[in-house]
């Protein structure tokens, strides 16, 4: 066998390891092994690439890889689990950027006169999608890191301007296909970067994770396009796997929110903040604020308590305190479990990750469909930093922006306790009538602080 054949066979092994890795992710038990398998496949693919014939600049390659590792590993090691969504956005963005740069470099390195039109098409697709993913992910990172507002950013004639830039990009694509001009490819790069930014600007709040999933899928497609350009089966397989699975995941995420993907991408959802920071809403309804002592006693003598965590729990770093409260209650014989909404936190499954970090066994986490029937027999629904995911107007108010989104039926429990910092609305920017329910007790303050007071109160009860 020639050296080239051996290398290609190793690439095939790597491609299979990626498929098996994605399959491993279907079970919490095998997921970690799956990820390590993909990493091993990746190491193999990178290793044999060094054995490629005619590979120059090996020193430069190694230096660049050392730089990337020196920055990437500490960043990934040190990031807090609450910041995972923006880290995924960042790592996705650099991948898209790399794909765009690979396509451009391959194009300017070849003689434009001798390049077939379909080759040019592969390049412009890689540049367009890769650069869009890069710029979009960068802006999503900035938004999730709260360096700028997390709410949608809108301005007059926005759709018009976006459409114009989109059409201009397509025009440049056609011009490049006809002329094979290398100068125009830089114009396309600039337009694609602009497109990425203006595409993401009007998307905010809870919709950003859906966007990251979509951009993740885009990066996969850009990588596949680079694979076509470089004639690499491995890049085509891996890029397409990610592109296809990312599209599916994006759809699952928008379904979980009860909305269509175009609605998420183009409606600037939640840009209007309807409620202010007052403790009374405009129509004069008032809420009932309780003390940790009262609620602690209530919890201690309950039979079944359902904890409904939301992003507020993550922000307050309260996952450990929540587990402490749950353990304290369980030690008294109270039936406790966590009801997890599919989009609790900022990504699907994000809340599971945060609670797992606090060593909550995943058997105690129940998904929405499983939790809802149980809530009807629960004594207390303890809502910790969640809001939109328990808002009954998703069921009852056809005009509401979140109407149709599946929710956790906290309102069917006998008592509802809200741990909240203030009366401010959630990501969707809409009022929650559950806060004014006579069954509801509010505990204002930092979630972690309040949970610790509750543990003390339960121990005294």
């Amino acid at each position: 066998m020639s050296r080239g054949t051996v290398i290609d066979l190793c690439y095939l092994v790597a491609a299979v390891s990626f498929i098996l890795a994605l399959k491993g992710l279907s079970s919490p038990k095998r997921a970690r092994a799956g990820n390590l398998l993909a990493a091993a496949g990746m190491a193999l693919a990178i290793g044999v690439t060094f054995a490629q014939p005619h590979l120059d600049h090996v020193g430069l390659i190694v230096i660049a890889m050392v730089i990337g590792t020196a920055v990437g590993v500490p960043a990934a090691r040190l990031v807090k689990m609450t910041a995972i969504p923006q880290m995924v956005a960042a790592f996705n963005g650099v991948g898209g950027g790399a794909a765009a740069v690979v396509s451009i470099t391959e194009f300017i390195g070849s003689d434009p006169k001798q390049v077939a039109t379909y080759k040019v098409l592969e390049v412009v697709f890689g540049v367009l999608v890769g650069a869009l993913s890069f710029a979009g992910s960068a802006l999503a990172f900035v938004k999730l890191q709260e360096l700028i507002t997390t709410r949608p950013i809108v301005y007059p004639a926005q759709q018009m301007i976006n459409a114009t830039v989109g059409v201009a990009s397509l025009g440049i694509v056609l011009a490049i296909l006809v002329t094979s001009s290398t100068a125009l490819i830089w114009v396309l790069l600039a337009l694609a970067l602009t497109l990425g930014v203006i595409f993401v600007l009007p998307i905010g709040g809870a919709d950003v994770p859906v966007l990251i999933s979509l951009l993740n899928s885009f990066t996969g497609l850009a990588v596949a396009a680079s694979g076509f350009t470089l004639n690499s089966n491995l890049l085509v397989v891996a890029g397409t796997l990610v592109g296809a699975s990312g599209m599916l995941l994006t759809r699952m995420m928008s379904t979980a929110m009860g909305r269509s993907l175009p609605n998420i991408l183009f409606s600037a959802f939640g840009s209007v903040v309807t409620a202010s920071g007052a403790t009374e809403s405009a129509d004069g309804r008032s809420v009932r604020a309780g003390t940790p002592e009262d609620v602690g006693t209530l919890l201690a003598y309950s039979r079944k308590v359902v904890i409904i965590p939301g992003y507020g729990l993550a922000v307050a770093q309260a996952q450990h305190s929540a587990k402490e409260l749950a353990d304290t209650l369980m030690a008294r014989g109270v039936d406790v479990f966590y009801a997890i909404h599919p989009v609790a936190g900022r990504m699907p499954g994000h809340m599971n990750v945060l609670l797992a970090e606090a060593n909550v066994p995943y058997e105690e986490l129940k998904e929405m469909d499983e939790a809802n029937p149980e809530l009807a027999t629960a004594d207390v629904a303890l809502v910790v930093g969640a809001n939109d995911t328990v808002n009954p107007s998703a069921r009852n108010t056809p005009g509401s922006p979140i109407y149709g989104m599946p929710i956790i039926n906290a309102d069917s429990a006998e008592n509802i306790v809200f741990l909240k910092r203030s009366m401010r609305p959630g990501f969707a920017g809409i009022d929650n009538e559950l806060l004014y329910d006579p069954k509801t007790t509010m505990l204002f303050g930092d979630a972690k602080d309040t949970l610790q007071k509750l543990v003390a109160a339960v121990n005294k009860a």
Binding site: P28, D56, G68, V94, T105, F228, A238, Y362
Partner: protein, 115 residues
């Protein structure tokens, strides 16, 4: 359409179906690790970046290839490390340290174990 292109296109279409088929069985509890894991997998663009830098002829190609390798390396190492950190935390219930009553409904097995 050349034979080489047709071959790649065939692989592309089949890989698309495999991607959908494999993913449709992932429970929502693992959606975030899945997104992060697939994010690491598209870091395979590092292989393409290495080839591009390794076959650079001009200074401009070298600079671009160098940038591509750095970006792609970030994608690969960051993606795998973050995913591993996330998955590291998914553990089944350990032997209870202080023997809590654990009155948990046992009728449902762990999520996804049926897949």
């Amino acid at each position: 359409m050349t034979n080489g292109l047709l071959e790649l296109f065939t692989i592309f279409v089949l890989a698309g179906f495999v991607g959908i088929e494999v993913i449709s069985k992932v429970p929502s509890i693992l959606h975030t690790p899945l997104m992060s894991g697939s994010n690491a997998i598209h870091g395979v663009i590092l292989v393409g970046s290495m080839i591009v830098l390794g076959s650079a002829h001009t200074g401009a190609e070298e600079v671009l290839g160098f940038i591509a390798v750095i970006l792609a390396t970030l994608n690969v190492v960051g993606g795998f490390v973050v995913t591993d950190r996330m998955l590291h935390m998914f553990k089944p219930r350990q032997a209870p340290p202080s023997a809590p009553a654990a009155p948990e409904a046992p009728e449902k097995p762990a999520d996804g174990s049926a897949a």
